[in-house]
C-alpha cells in the first residue's frame, strides 16, 4: 500500500488543494494529514463605500471589483491566512470588544474547513480514496466535530483505524510549548493518552503511529532555541530538541512499523528507531509548497519498504 503523509498546513489553501491532489499525483492508496490544519492569521479586508482595502505584508491593496476582491482573498487563503471582510465599524468593534476577535477567528476557521471538506468530496471520489485528518496542538476543538461529520474524510484522534490490514492510531496532543496552545499536556498525561490509543492495536507489526509531536532527541524535533521573550537565540543558529519523551518512549517500547510526526516544521527528517521508521516531513506551508512523505508499506513483511520525502 502506498501512503502519502503531510502535516502542518496551517490554513494554507494551496497546500490543501495539493494535498487533495496528492493521491492521484503520487498514486497513493491512502492520504493522511497529521494535524495543525488551521491557520494562525486573520487579515481584515475593510469594505468601504464602493471599494475594499486590505494591507498584506505591509502593502495596501485597494480593490474596486468583486473579481479583484476574490483574487486577493484567494492569495490570502493560499498563504495560510483567513480573509475577514468587515466594515470599518466592525473592525473597530473587533478591536474594542473582549473576545470578538476570537469568535470571528473561530468562525473563519470553521467556514474555511467546511469549504475544504466540500472540495475533498469531489477530489477524493466521494470517499473512495481513504483520507485521514487529525487535529494538532494549534487546532481549536471545534474542528473535531466538523471533520467527524464529513462523509469523505475520517477523523483520526484517539482511534485505531483499520486500513487494509494496517492499524493507524492518531494523537494530536503535544508536550507543552511556550505558546500554551490547545492540545498540550504534560508528558505523563501524553503517555496515558498514547497507551490508551495504542491498546486498541491488535498487531503492532503493522501499526502506524500518527502522533503530532515528534519523539524527543531524534533529530525530528530540532527547533531554534528561544530566549524568555521568544526571540531565537544566537541568530537562530542554535537548535534544540523540543519533542516528546512520551512519544519517544512509546516508539521504543511498542516498536510500530511506522511513526509519522509533524509539529516542528524546521525538522524535516527520517530516523530509524529499532524496527520503527520515524518521519517528520516538515512544513513550509507559507511558501505554498506541500512537504510530505511517500511511503510504500508491505503488509506481508510488516515494514516500510520505500520512502521518499517530497516537496510537492
Amino acid at each position: 500500500m502506498r501512503v502519502f503523509f503531510a502535516t502542518d498546513i496551517h490554513g494554507s489553501e494551496v497546500c490543501w488543494r495539493k494535498f487533495l491532489n496528492a493521491a492521484a499525483f503520487y498514486k497513493a492508496d491512502l492520504v493522511v494529514l497529521g494535524g495543525d490544519v488551521t491557520g494562525k492569521v486573520m487579515v481584515p479586508v475593510v469594505a468601504h463605500n464602493g471599494y475594499w482595502q486590505v494591507v498584506v505584508r505591509g502593502e495596501t491593496i485597494r480593490m474596486e471589483t468583486k473579481a479583484e476582491l476574490e483574487e486577493v482573498e484567494r492569495k490570502i487563503r493560499n498563504s495560510g491566512s483567513y480573509p475577514a471582510v468587515v466594515t470599518p465599524d466592525e473592525l473597530q468593534a473587533l478591536s474594542a470588544e473582549e473576545g470578538a476577535v476570537d469568535r470571528r477567528f473561530s468562525a473563519e476557521m470553521i467556514r474555511s474547513l467546511d469549504r475544504w471538506l466540500d472540495m475533498a468530496d469531489g477530489k477524493l471520489d466521494g470517499g473512495k480514496i481513504p483520507c485521514i485528518l487529525n487535529g494538532g496542538n494549534d487546532d481549536i476543538w471545534e474542528i473535531d466535530d466538523v471533520i467527524e461529520a464529513s462523509p469523505c474524510v475520517s477523523f483520526g484522534e484517539g482511534k485505531a483505524l483499520d486500513l487494509d490490514g494496517f492499524h493507524l492510531v492518531s494523537m494530536g496532543w503535544t508536550n507543552p510549548t511556550p505558546w500554551d496552545t490547545f492540545r498540550e499536556a504534560p508528558e505523563e498525561q501524553l503517555k496515558e493518552k498514547i497507551d490508551a490509543v495504542v491498546s486498541q492495536i491488535p498487531d503492532m507489526e503493522r501499526a502506524i503511529f500518527n502522533f503530532h509531536a515528534p519523539p524527543y532527541g531524534t533529530g525530528l524535533d530540532e527547533a531554534p532555541a528561544l530566549d524568555d521573550t521568544l526571540r531565537p537565540m544566537h541568530g537562530g543558529a542554535v537548535m534544540k530538541p523540543v519533542g516528546s519523551t512520551a512519544v519517544r518512549d512509546a516508539i521504543n517500547s511498542y516498536q510500530p512499523m511506522l511513526s509519522v510526526h509533524g509539529h516542528i516544521h524546521e525538522s524535516r527528517g527520517v530516523k530509524r528507531m529499532g524496527r520503527t521508521l520515524a518521519i517528520n516531513p516538515g512544513s513550509v506551508y507559507g511558501d505554498g509548497v506541500l512537504q510530505g512523505a511517500v511511503l510504500e508499506l508491505d503488509a506481508k513483511k510488516g515494514k516500510v519498504t520505500k520512502y521518499l520525502l517530497v516537496n510537492g
Partner: protein, 544 residues
C-alpha cells in the same frame, strides 16, 4: 484563544497564539556571525600578505570596491533568505528554483567537498597566526619554524580538523556562546593593536622591531634587511593610496577570500514574514560586511602610519617569495604576523603572548563553522535519498553524526596531507573561494529568475516589495552579483597570478564536480532500481 492585533489603531492583521510564532532575532547576532565569517584577522590579514602577487595593486582600493560589490550579493541573498527561509540555504534555493540535480551538485561541491580544502587553509592560518608567533615569542624560534614545515602544517591542520569536528559533535549551543565571547575578546585585541600603532611612531617601531627580532631570531638590523631583501627579490611596494585602479581591480579576486562570506550561516526561521524581515536580514549581513571593511581600512591605515606601507608589503612579499623558492631569505623566518610586530612595541613577553592569544580568539570563534555547512548538506542529501540513509545517522548516546563526520573528516585529512607536503597544491588556495563562488553564482541566477520561474513564491515574498523607482531591487542585485562572480571567475581562470588556472588545479576542482555528478547519477540509478523516483522530490503537485 489569545490573539494579537497588529497594525496600530486600525489593525491590519490578527494573530492568534500558536506554535512557532517567534520574535525576529536580533540584528546584532547576525551581524556578529557576518563579522566572524568575513574574518578580518584570520582571512583578511592573511590574504593581505599576498598583495605582492599583484604588485601594483592597492589593498585599500580593492577592499572598498569589493565591499560595495559584495553589498549587492548581500541584497540578493537577503532576498533568497526571506523568500525561502530554510536552513539548507543554497541547496534548498537552487533545488527548488533551478532543479534537484543542479542543487545537489552545487551544494555538494560548494558546501561540502571544497571544505576539505578549507581544512588545511584553516590549519595554515592557525599555524601562522598562533603557533608560529607564540613559539617565537616564548623564545623558541626553531620550534616556531617547525610549524611552517610540511609536517608542522599537516599536524596543525589535523589539530584544526579535530577541533572543528569536536565542536560539531558538541553542538552549537555552547559554541554560539563561545563565539560571542571570542568576538568581543577579539575586538579588544584588535583595539589594542590599533592603539599600539596609533600611539607609537615609525621610528619607535623600527627600533622595537630591530630589538625584538634580534632578541628572538638573532637577526641584526632586521628592518633594513627586510627592505633590502624585498628590493633584491625584485619587488617594489606601491605608494600607499588608491591608484592605480586597474591593478587594484585585480586584487578583488583575492579579497573575495575574506569578503565573500557575509551570508555564511544566515538563515531565517519564523512563518509570519513581513516587510521588516528583509531589512533585518539585510542589516545583519550588511553591517557585518561593512564592519569588516571598516576594520580592514583602519588596520591598513595604522599599519601604514607606524610600520610603513612599504615595509608591510615588503615583509610579506619577501616571505612568500622565499616560501615559494626565492633566493632571498626574509629577516624574520616565520610569516610576518602584524599582530606579533605590534606586540613588539611593548618589550614584555607576557604582554606579547597575551596579545597573540587574544587575537587567536578570532580563530576560535570562526573554526567551528568549518564543517557545520557540510553536516547540513549531507543530512539534507540523505533525507532526499541521494546519499545512503546512514549518512544522516546520529549516535543515540552522544548525538554525534558519526558517518557525516567521516565523510567530512577523512577526505579533509587526506587533502591536508597533500596541501602540507605539496607546495604547488598550496597555490590552489583560491580554489577554495572559486568553487563556493560558483555555487553562489547559481544562487544569484536563481534569484534573478525567481520572479519568472516561481511567480507566486516571488509575489508572496517580502523581497518583491523592495523597489526603487518601481524596479524590484533584489533581482537587479542578483544581476550585479552575477557580474561580481563572473568577473572573479574570469580572472581566477585566466590570470595565473591567482595560482588556480593551471591544469592540476582545474583537475582538482573539476574532479569535485565530476564526483558530485557521479554521486547524483548513481543515486538516481540505484534508487530507480529500488523503485524510488528521485525526480519526484521537487516536482510540484498540481493545485487545481
Amino acid at each position: 484563544m489569545a490573539t494579537d492585533a497588529i497594525g496600530g489603531e486600525t489593525p491590519t492583521l490578527f494573530l492568534r497564539k500558536a506554535t512557532g510564532l517567534v520574535r525576529g532575532w536580533s540584528v546584532r547576532d547576525s551581524m556578529i556571525y557576518a563579522v566572524l565569517a568575513t574574518n578580518v584577522v584570520t582571512l583578511g590579514i592573511y590574504e593581505f600578505s599576498f598583495q605582492s602577487f599583484i604588485p601594483k595593486g592597492q589593498l585599500l582600493t580593492s577592499i572598498l570596491i569589493s565591499g560595495v560589490w559584495v553589498s549587492f550579493l548581500v541584497i540578493a541573498y537577503a532576498g533568497l533568505i526571506v523568500t525561502i527561509p530554510r536552513a539548507g540555504g543554497d541547496y534548498v534555493w537552487q533545488s527548488r528554483i533551478l532543479g534537484s540535480g543542479l542543487g545537489f551538485v552545487m551544494a555538494a561541491t560548494g558546501w561540502w567537498f571544497i571544505l576539505w580544502l578549507w581544512a588545511p587553509i584553516y590549519g595554515n592560518i592557525l599555524s601562522v597566526e598562533l603557533f608560529q608567533p607564540l613559539w617565537a615569542t616564548l623564545g623558541d624560534p626553531s620550534g616556531a619554524a617547525w610549524f611552517a614545515t610540511h609536517t608542522g602544517i599537516f599536524v596543525v591542520s589535523v589539530i584544526t580538523i579535530v577541533l572543528a569536528g569536536l565542536l560539531v559533535s558538541l553542538g552549537m549551543a555552547g559554541y554560539a556562546r563561545i563565539q560571542k565571547w571570542c568576538f568581543y575578546g577579539g575586538l579588544v585585541g584588535f583595539a589594542v593593536v590599533v592603539v599600539l600603532l596609533l600611539v607609537n611612531n615609525h621610528a619607535t617601531f623600527v627600533s622595537s622591531f630591530n630589538q625584538e627580532a634580534h632578541k628572538i631570531f638573532g637577526v641584526n638590523g632586521a628592518y633594513a634587511v627586510t627592505q633590502a631583501g624585498a628590493a633584491k627579490s625584485g619587488y617594489t611596494s606601491p605608494v600607499f593610496g588608491f591608484s592605480p585602479l586597474g591593478a587594484s581591480m585585480l586584487l578583488i579576486p583575492m579579497m573575495m577570500f575574506y569578503l565573500l562570506w557575509p551570508n555564511w550561516g544566515s538563515t531565517l526561521y519564523g512563518e509570519i514574514r513581513g516587510a521588516s524581515d528583509f531589512k533585518r536580514v539585510f542589516a545583519g549581513m550588511f553591517s557585518g560586511l561593512w564592519i569588516t571593511v571598516a576594520l580592514s581600512v583602519v588596520f591598513l591605515l595604522v599599519v601604514a602610519k607606524t610600520f610603513g606601507n612599504d615595509f608591510y608589503n615588503n615583509s610579506n612579499a619577501l616571505y612568500w617569495s622565499a616560501y615559494y623558492g626565492g633566493k632571498v631569505a626574509p629577516a624574520i623566518p616565520i610569516w610576518p604576523y602584524p599582530v606579533m610586530f605590534a606586540g613588539w612595541l611593548v618589550h614584555n613577553t607576557a604582554f606579547q603572548v597575551v596579545l597573540i592569544l587574544l587575537m587567536a580568539l578570532w580563530f576560535i570563534g570562526w573554526v567551528g563553522t568549518l564543517f557545520l555547512s557540510s553536516t547540513r548538506v549531507i543530512f539534507a542529501a540523505a533525507f532526499d535519498r541521494v546519499l545512503p540513509d546512514r549518512a544522516a545517522e546520529v549516535s543515540e548516546k552522544r548525538k554525534v553524526p558519526f558517518y557525516s563526520l567521516v565523510l567530512m573528516l577523512a577526505p579533509a585529512v587526506i587533502v591536508s596531507a597533500v596541501y602540507a607536503y605539496n607546495l604547488t597544491f598550496q597555490t590552489y588556495t583560491l580554489d577554495a573561494t572559486l568553487v563556493i563562488a560558483v555555487t553562489y553564482l547559481f544562487s544569484a541566477i536563481a534569484v534573478v529568475l525567481l520572479p519568472w520561474l516561481k511567480p507566486d513564491l516571488w509575489r508572496a515574498s517580502p523581497a518583491s516589495r523592495i523597489k526603487i523607482l518601481g524596479v524590484p531591487v533584489v533581482p537587479v542585485a542578483g544581476l550585479v552579483t552575477i557580474g561580481l562572480l563572473g568577473y572573479n571567475l574570469y580572472e581566477w581562470l585566466t590570470n595565473s597570478a591567482y595560482g588556480v588556472n593551471n591544469h592540476d588545479s582545474l583537475y582538482f576542482m573539476g574532479g569535485m564536480y565530476v564526483l558530485a555528478i557521479v554521486v547524483y547519477v548513481v543515486a538516481r540509478l540505484v534508487r530507480s532500481r529500488q523503485g524510488i523516483d528521485l525526480s519526484l522530490i521537487n516536482k510540484e503537485i498540481p493545485v487545481e
